[in-house]
């Protein structure tokens, strides 16, 4: 550990908060349809797009209509992406966009990949530079990076509208919301982010792979491509699907420690800003601060544990006789699977940033983390994406937990639970409970199936010995059900013997189970969250009385953290004991 390392963490939190506050206010204005500083530029394109889609902000949808639009829009995106990925080698694809002549991945891997990108998961069984053409990366994957992120955000906005709605059943218009999200939020920040990243050394070209002749007489092939444009939205939309196999560990995706900081900020700014958006839209900014505080406490806890754990070496390194502490000219620590330019702090912080959100990008090999260091991403996933969470998904998920916490608090003080002046009744609690339970259910059920059948165990890597094999499997389904996408990457669903698609085959069990888990755990909670919005929208608001439990003070923050930890611990503790906890407690080698 070093002073510079701790400084990195502090600086990150300060900059994040400073950027998220104004962005939150900006987004509140965008969704209220107010004028913002970009309106003079984007107002024209916005009106044009809305006219083409025949959408009108005055025509509000009720929750069922809104949900139907979300589902059909996502289905359309799914179908087009499947088509694009399966025809990446077709006659109409120009050579420039497929310079290496890559064939498509098989149907089962494509099913998994498409489900993954449409659900904002970006779980990747394939390896980017040996599977995907520039055509697929650009027209297929980049587009879903935007759209799936947009869908997450608009659902959160619709839920807020339901919570604050004073009359009727309307929770906004999906088409208007998605167009505004893309034009006013995602696209401008992506353009700035992409240009910045390219200026620092992220690739942006359409040339074929290079062949270099090294100083010692060897040849080296070097992958190329339009990386920057995809990289920016991969992070901003908490997508996380790398252009290259090793994601943000690749020097062409994340060239310096400075880009590493900016990439982490890109991941968290929208999830953090949306919390402030919520505060503003409810008309009481303290509501937003309370949720921000809740998230930040859990976030910092995870960062501190991961940093300390990784600053010590692993049992394997100690068995080999290595000393892993800081010496002159070396930061020490568990450098297996970590890049020198990021060091331990830059890797551990990135790891936490992308596993609390649904981003799932990685700049270090999670599978090589120490037991406790590796338990941190597990714990983050077990908290079901509420510590900032994915863009939009994080906010709507934690708001459902808030509802649950208010209900439990109400029971404790013996009064009818009230939230922002609205009485909570059986219907909302049931819906929120169902929404919260879907993810753990999907994760645990699929892990059980995968470790109990030979089809499932076929995916465990040859390095997955002892508890490592269980950790790999649990992480795979936990990550897919949380729509996260990071991996203990030994677990495989795609066998590529010649480092390409020729002669490759998918592992159908893992591909299909994973794909279904992602779809179920993404759209299930979305429908329930919108149903909660619908249930709350029509309720009358009564002024807060003396006995009303407040949801904007430190007491409530503690209650909320308690509820989140309790639900997470009760559902996942037994499974975690079998994998990462065993690995963290033992110095045995398997």
């Amino acid at each position: 550990m070093s002073f510079a390392g701790w400084m990195t963490i502090v600086a990150f939190v300060v900059i994040l908060t400073a950027v998220a506050l104004p962005l939150g206010s900006y987004m509140a204005k965008v969704y209220a349809g107010e004028r913002v500083f970009l309106t003079p530029i984007l107002g024209g394109p916005e009106r044009l797009l809305l006219r083409v889609l025949r959408a009108d902000s005055d025509r509000e949808q009720d929750w069922k209509a809104y949900a139907k639009s979300v589902l059909i829009f996502s289905l359309a995106g799914w179908l087009l992406l499947y088509l694009i990925l399966r025809t990446q080698n077709a006659f109409f694809v120009p050579h420039r966009l497929n310079p290496l002549g890559y064939h498509s991945a098989p149907w089962n891997v494509t099913f998994n990949t498409v489900s993954s990108f449409v659900t904002n998961t970006n779980w990747q069984y394939y390896s980017g530079e040996t599977t995907m053409t520039y055509f697929s990366q650009m027209l297929g994957l980049t587009v879903q990076n935007f759209l799936s992120a947009g869908v997450g955000i608009v659902v959160a906005v619709a839920l807020i509208r339901g919570i604050i709605g004073r009359s009727g059943k309307g929770i906004g218009n999906f088409w208007v919301d998605i167009v505004r999200t893309i034009l006013y939020v995602l696209l401008p920040i992506s353009i700035i982010g992409a240009i910045f990243l390219v200026s620092q050394g992220v690739l942006q070209n359409f040339t074929t792979y290079l062949t270099a002749h090294t100083l010692t007489g060897l040849t080296q092939s070097v992958a190329m491509g339009p990386v920057g444009s995809q990289e920016a939205i991969k992070l901003l939309g908490t997508n996380g699907g790398g252009f290259f196999n090793v994601n943000s560990a690749h020097p062409f995706e994340n060239p310096t420690a400075f880009t590493n900081l900016v990439e982490m900020l890109l991941v968290l700014i929208i999830p953090a800003a949306l919390v402030f958006t919520y505060g503003r839209m409810t008309g009481n900014r303290r509501q937003g601060y309370a949720i921000y505080g809740t998230m930040m406490v859990m976030f910092l806890g995870a960062v501190v544990v991961a940093y300390i754990a990784e600053a010590h070496g692993s049992p394997a390194q100690h068995a080999a006789g290595l000393h892993t502490h800081v010496i002159a000219g070396s930061g020490g620590g568990n450098m297996e699977g970590k890049e020198q330019r990021f060091g331990i702090a830059g890797s551990a912080l990135f790891d936490v940033v992308t596993t609390v959100t649904s981003c799932g990008a990685v700049n270090s090999a999670l599978e090589s983390y120490t037991g406790i260091g590796g338990a941190v991403p597990f714990a983050n996933l077990s908290a079901s994406e509420v510590i900032f969470g994915g863009v939009g998904t994080g906010l709507y998920s934690i708001l459902l937990y808030v509802l649950l916490a208010v209900f439990i608090g109400g029971l404790m003080v013996g009064r009818t639970p009230e939230w922002l002046g609205k009485k909570l009744e059986a219907r909302e609690i049931k819906l929120a409970g169902l929404a919260i339970l879907i993810t753990p259910l999907a994760a645990l059920f699929s892990t059980a199936m995968a470790v109990a059948t030979s089809g499932g165990r076929a995916s465990i890597s040859e390095l997955g010995k002892g508890p490592q094999g269980f950790s790999e499997t649990l992480y795979a389904y936990l990550s897919q059900s949380n729509n996260n996408g990071s991996a203990f990457a030994g677990y495989t669903g795609f066998i590529q013997p010649n480092a390409g698609n020729l002669g490759s085959h998918g592992v159908t069990f893992a591909d299909i189970l994973g794909g279904l888990v992602m779809l179920f755990a993404r759209f299930g909670p979305i429908v329930f969250a919108l149903a909660v919005a619908g249930a709350l929208a029509g309720k009358r608001v009564t002024p807060a009385g003396l006995g009303t439990m407040r949801t904007d003070n430190p007491t409530f923050v503690i209650l909320l953290i308690g509820v989140i930890l309790l639900v997470g611990a009760l559902t996942f503790f037994p499974a975690l004991l079998l994998g990462p906890v065993v690995q963290g407690l033992t110095s045995n080698l398997y």
């Binding site: 510079a4 990195t8 600086a11 797009l49 083409v52 889609l53 059909i72 829009f73 359309a76 087009l80 390896s127 650009m138 027209l139 587009v143 893309i182 696209l187 992409a194 390219v198 690739l203 942006q204 359409f206 290079l210 002749h213 090294t214 100083l215 010692t216 007489g217 060897l218 080296q220 992958a223 190329m224 444009s229 995809q230 090793v246 690749h250 020097p251 062409f252 590493n260 049992p315 394997a316 390194q317 006789g321 290595l322 000393h323 070396s330 568990n334 450098m335 297996e336 699977g337 020198q340 830059g346 090999a365 599978e367 090589s368 390095l463 480092a499 690995q583 110095s587 045995n588 398997y590």
Partner: protein, 220 residues
């Protein structure tokens, strides 16, 4: 329902053109005009030949020759050994030979695996065999972790300063330079922490080796 289907179809096509075509091409245009070097991979040419990218790590092993003077192959892969005249990069386990930048990969070596410990031990043995003759006091405990572990990308362009300082003894002896001169070059090609506190300092191995060749002539 029907309305939603039509709207979705139109929306997907319009947005695919905007986000999948216009946006990447805009960034490509800006990148190629404003930052052509970086957008194209920071290529390094020596005498008109592409040597590599400044930010992608390389192997400084050389092919082992058989009795007939031809490069030896095992299982269709070149057999290589460390070239003592160059600084060595971190171990790399990419497919098709070390530092294959067309197929980046994680090594996925778990923290509690015998296989990991064995891989570390093998790397330590190789490191000591290469460096100890020039740095007799070197022990396993003094080896910095990065020198014997694989990086995340397996394409790490950097090594730690401690790692470079140990190798400097060998380079100075083999290339008939003073240790001070080699250490000077190491400092010159060390990338410090970004903004003074982000990340760890790292020595760019390719740039350092190129500088050595400029100073004392290449060996190939």
């Amino acid at each position: 329902m029907k309305r939603d289907i039509i709207t979705s179809a139109i929306a997907i096509i319009v947005l695919t053109v905007l986000l999948g075509l216009v946006y990447p091409l805009l960034i490509t245009g800006v990148g190629q005009v404003a930052f052509p070097g970086n957008a194209n991979g920071q290529k390094i040419y020596v005498k008109g030949r592409l040597v590599g990218s400044k930010i992608i790590g390389q192997s400084f092993q050389k092919p082992v020759l058989d009795k007939n003077g031809k490069p030896k192959e095992e299982e269709e892969e070149l057999v290589t050994e460390a070239d003592p005249t160059y600084f060595q990069s971190r171990p790399s386990a990419t497919e098709g030979g070390a530092y294959n930048a067309a197929a980046s990969t994680f090594s996925n070596r778990g923290p509690n695996l015998k296989l990991t410990a064995e891989a570390d031990e093998e790397n330590i043995k190789a490191y000591l065999a290469l460096e100890k003759p020039y740095d007799p006091g070197l022990t396993t405990a003094a080896i910095p972790v990065d020198a014997v572990t694989t990086s995340a990308s397996n394409l790490d362009p950097h090594i730690s300063q401690a790692n470079a300082w140990i190798q400097a003894h060998r380079i100075a002896a083999v290339r008939h330079l003073t240790l001070g001169a080699v250490d000077g070059l190491i400092s010159k090609y060390t990338t410090g922490r970004s903004l003074g506190f982000l990340g760890e300092p790292g020595v760019n191995v390719l740039q350092l080796n190129l500088a050595l060749d400029r100073l004392t002539g290449g060996t190939h």
